[in-house]
Symmetry: C2
Subunit: 184 residues, 2 copies
């Protein structure tokens, strides 16, 4: 893991990968899959994220004001499916990290844990826009720190050749994913 | 080209492909590349699209209230780069379609022309949210009709195998694209 310049952070999500959202508030943590994440601005870097009002993640991120976007890779697809299919609210005495033995490490600027073996991480601070949140489940956030696995992202560029297991993934529906493919 | 059920329209953009936005108003037409397009809701299907305030497209879509999202494929990358690099405002007596010999066909519900040889098309009607538009260049739109090339999308599923030239594309930055890769 190495730091990514904030002016280059949009490049981590510009190609539309599916993400994992992690969150923490008041001793509770959660993790969910989210495909509806998109770059919104370059400087300061901003993103949009859609988080359904029925999710446990929604409660945590609204309370804490921050969350992390983790970019999972091909070898993590089974984990992505698991965390995408079950709500953290189903484990009142535990959490999805413990249930699925998902290892994490500490973020730099926010409380949410970052998921080990992902290939990039964006630490995000919500810019409050209640109308968007209430009507559309749409959150706008500023990226306050970014990191990537330098085997596949360095100097502002993705380079997946020779690392097929570390390619980012793109969800269509129903557990069908495409890997990020050839540069063209 | 065949119709896509509106309840499945989100699957056209769920994997985060780069798009081409087409627009028309009062006899003027334009075309631009846009990577910052994202699904927002299933039913009715909605999307978010970021359109910079300096673009000619912005003027047309704000005036008309509608636009089209076209999904270009690998064999159209040079065209995508061209329409992404030059403003329609630079051709006051012509337009980018004529300048670059881009063929189009008529949409079903809106005025914007659809680009031939793309692999999917979403016809969109803007839901006015002036705060988002003015502060973030962010548009919310409802998808009112959708179509796809049935060689690569049918019955709600993408199937690119055997059609590498028709794979959708994902822009990172500076004209670097990845093709949508293997199903995994």
């Amino acid at each position: 893991m190495h730091p990514v310049e904030l002016t280059k952070a949009f490049r981590l999500v510009n190609h539309g990968p599916t993400t994992i959202i992690t969150s923490a508030h008041n001793g509770k943590v959660n993790i969910m899959a989210a495909a509806w994440v998109c770059a919104l601005d370059f400087k300061p870097p901003k993103v949009t994220v859609v988080i359904d009002s029925n999710t446990y993640t929604r409660k945590l991120i609204e309370a804490e004001g921050t969350f992390a976007i983790n970019l999972p890779c091909v070898k993590q697809i089974e984990m992505v499916k698991k965390v995408g299919n079950i709500s953290g609210a189903d484990f009142p005495d535990s959490d999805k990290f413990a249930e699925y033995e998902i290892e994490t490490f500490t973020a730099q600027e926010i409380s949410a844990p970052l998921v080990k073996n992902c290939v990039a991480w964006l630490e995000c601070k919500i810019i409050s826009e209640p109308n968007n949140q209430d009507i559309y489940d749409l959150f706008i956030a500023e990226v306050v720190a970014a990191h990537a696995d330098e085997r596949v992202f360095s100097d502002g560029h993705w380079h997946f050749d020779g690392h097929d297991d570390l390619r980012t993934i793109h969800h269509v529906a129903g557990g069908v994913f495409f890997a990020t493919g050839k540069e063209c």
